[in-house]
Amino acid sequence: MVKQDSQAGQEQLDVIIKADQLVFRYPSNDFSSIDNVTVALKKGKCTGIVGPNGAGKSTLISLLCGLLTPAQGQLSYFVDNENSQTKPAFLTEATNNQVYIEQHIALIPQEYAFYPELTVKQNLQYFIAISERKRDKQASILADSLAQCQLTHVANKKAASLSGGYKRRLNIAIALSKSPDIIFLDEPTVGIDPVSRQEIIDLLKTLKAQGKTLVYTSHMLNEVEQLCDDIILLEQGKALAVSDLTSSNMMITVSFLAHQNAETLRKQLQVLLPDIDSTQPQLNIKIADISQLNAIFACLAQNMSVIKQLHFSQNSIDQLYFSVYHSKQAAQDGAC
């Protein structure tokens, strides 16, 4: 019990942004663009926000990074300032949140959010200057940002003359020059060649390894799968699924022989996995918790004689996306 509490506490500490039952409606709309969404972004992890166009991804990100204010619900940011005397805690006051956003959050919009008339270096100098970094540190921040995004050799080139891949890197370098803890990215690989795309994905992986928290929206589900630890699937402002991609994408399909002992196996699996319908001729067992695997394998091993076919698969994010989306559509059609 004590161990469980400690684990829960640790999970709590890992959360860097908590959004609790957020609701948001644009004044021009008669429906909620974000409807009762609860999410927790974990420190040092990458969370993907996916969904069809108009699902509310942009609105959710705008809420999470403080651009919009929720009509209902609570948004809180975790603060653990090593230099501060105050204890680590969640900030919920809007004014505190604004300070937090200014100090810890960086955005990388889908557009090239910089000044094409300026050189790479001048762009970075401007954004470093408005981030109120100390003057003596500005040069080293500039050099680090250039180096990290491999832009040093084009530092004096005009941003407008850069290739698409370099423009994307500059977009990221500007965000990094703020030394943020959390980075929100909107389709940062749109419109670039596969090599540049992979380089950017690798850069983002490096950032994640450095402990940065990433929030990633993209229609490129393979990228989301490569990068993200968690996924939030949105549809019409609702979070249809909030999944941990590291553990929830394993599936075991069991087909039984027409054998009376099969009933024993069905009953044993029903005990282990109360949510499954053991009367079906074929069981699709979704592994929500990897710690269950040993018990399930032991059970299956004891009853191999009644198993006609055993199939292991790992759900791709595409399958998750489409299964959730289609089941929602089917439910809606049924309701009609």
Binding site: I61, C65, Q110, A113, Y115, A129, I130, K178
Partner: protein, 385 residues
């Protein structure tokens, strides 16, 4: 932060050929064309004017006045319809160098002449009378060689540096009618107010490419951001102001062979620049905060500027407008701006310029506060694209 912001805006403007054209090339072109056109128009007009000089007795001074009127371009005492009459009372020559000698000269016009042409004739007649007085003075102190003819003496007076001095020190009405003084302040002001286009397009670009959203997460408030922008563009406007002043005061008169403009009150001229720029930047920020597209910026910003310029008498002189329209000019910030600039050129006192300073300050500040309000509303509506 401020230096980086000014640097950024300056680079953006210099890289944008349209902005450079709008801020520098356009007003300079207008200055040259309009000064040239007005100078030519005036010269051609003068050649057609027949002046009749009526005097009770013909004396030496009268002969010299006729010579100076002719060198100004007038036809004098021709047998055709008379446009203007100069009546000189007897004893004029005796009182010539006295202070109130001008009271003995009566100038009247044909009813067919426009007020503008009458004003021009009056100024040129005054110049001729001044030259005649200078001629008489030089004669009296023995500056002329006795062997010189009247024509040679007239040439000496016309080329004399004292005449330049007289021309520059003439009363305000005369100075104000010079083509340079009519065109240059007007088109300089016109150019300064066109800062509205670069500010608007930059703000629209920043909104469209997500830079404005990005900046929302920086420790810079909307108030600070707009104030920094205002300061940055003010710095750009100061450079524009200095360049246009230099070109307008020195280059354009030289190019169009017109009289040089003299700044009689340099301190008021410089101060007027500060008020004009503050007013133009406030107005530009208001339009920039109001518009959402480039088309709106051009139509609204450019359109209002052209309308203000027309109403302020930049295109058609105010004294040629109907009264109702001329009265509207009194409510135009461009008119106040041109007026205070001319006050600096004419050498008015600070106190005389205070009403224009107050009007421009109230207009600039009012626009700025409205712009801030609109800008905050606009940024509050920003969300991830």
């Amino acid at each position: 932060m401020l230096i980086q912001s000014i640097k950024k805006e300056a680079i953006i403007i210099l890289n944008d050929l349209h902005s450079v054209a709008v801020l520098l090339v356009l007003p300079i072109t207008f200055m040259v064309i309009m000064t040239f056109a007005m100078g030519e128009k005036q010269a051609n007009l003068v050649k057609k004017i027949n002046v009749s000089v009526l005097a009770e007795q013909s004396d030496y001074s009268l002969q010299s006045l006729v010579s100076y009127l002719k060198t100004s371009g007038f036809k004098v005492n021709q047998e055709e319809s008379i446009d203007a009459f100069i009546s000189i009372e007897s004893g004029f020559e005796r009182n010539l160098l006295l202070k109130d000698s001008d009271a003995q000269i009566l100038l009247s016009y044909s009813n067919e002449l426009s007020p503008q042409t009458r004003l021009m004739i009056a100024e040129l007649v005054k110049v001729s009378i001044s030259k005649m007085k200078l001629h008489a003075y030089m004669e009296e102190v023995g500056d002329f060689d006795e062997s010189l003819s009247m024509a040679e003496k007239v040439d000496i007076v016309n080329e004399s540096s004292s005449v330049d001095y007289l021309l520059n020190e003439q009363n305000q009405d005369q100075v104000f009618s010079a083509p340079t003084l009519y065109s240059i302040p007007s088109w300089l002001i016109f150019g300064i107010y066109f800062i509205v286009l670069p500010i608007s397009t930059t703000l629209i670009k920043e909104k469209e490419n997500g830079t404005l959203i990005r900046i929302q997460t920086y420790p810079i408030s909307n108030q600070q951001y707009l104030f920094t922008k205002a300061l940055s563009y003010s710095a750009v406007s100061v450079i524009q102001w200095l360049l246009l002043s230099l070109v307008g005061l020195a280059f354009v008169p030289w190019l169009t062979e017109q009289a040089l403009l003299v700044i009689n009150s340099p301190s008021l001229y410089l101060l007027s620049g500060a008020f004009i720029i503050a007013s133009a930047i406030g107005f530009a920020l208001l339009i920039a905060a109001l518009v959402n597209t480039y088309e709106q910026a051009i139509v609204l910003g450019g359109g209002i500027n052209i309308l203000m310029a027309a109403l302020s008498g930049f295109m058609v002189p105010i004294d040629m407008m109907p009264d109702a329209l001329a009265n509207i000019a009194n409510f135009s910030p461009m008119y106040w701006s041109a007026d205070i600039l001319k006050q600096g050129l004419a050498g008015d006192s600070f106190m005389q310029a205070v009403p224009n300073m107050i009007k421009l300050s109230v207009f600039g500040l009012g626009c700025y506060l409205l712009a801030l309000n609109l800008f905050i509303k606009k940024t509050n509506k920003l969300s991830w694209a």
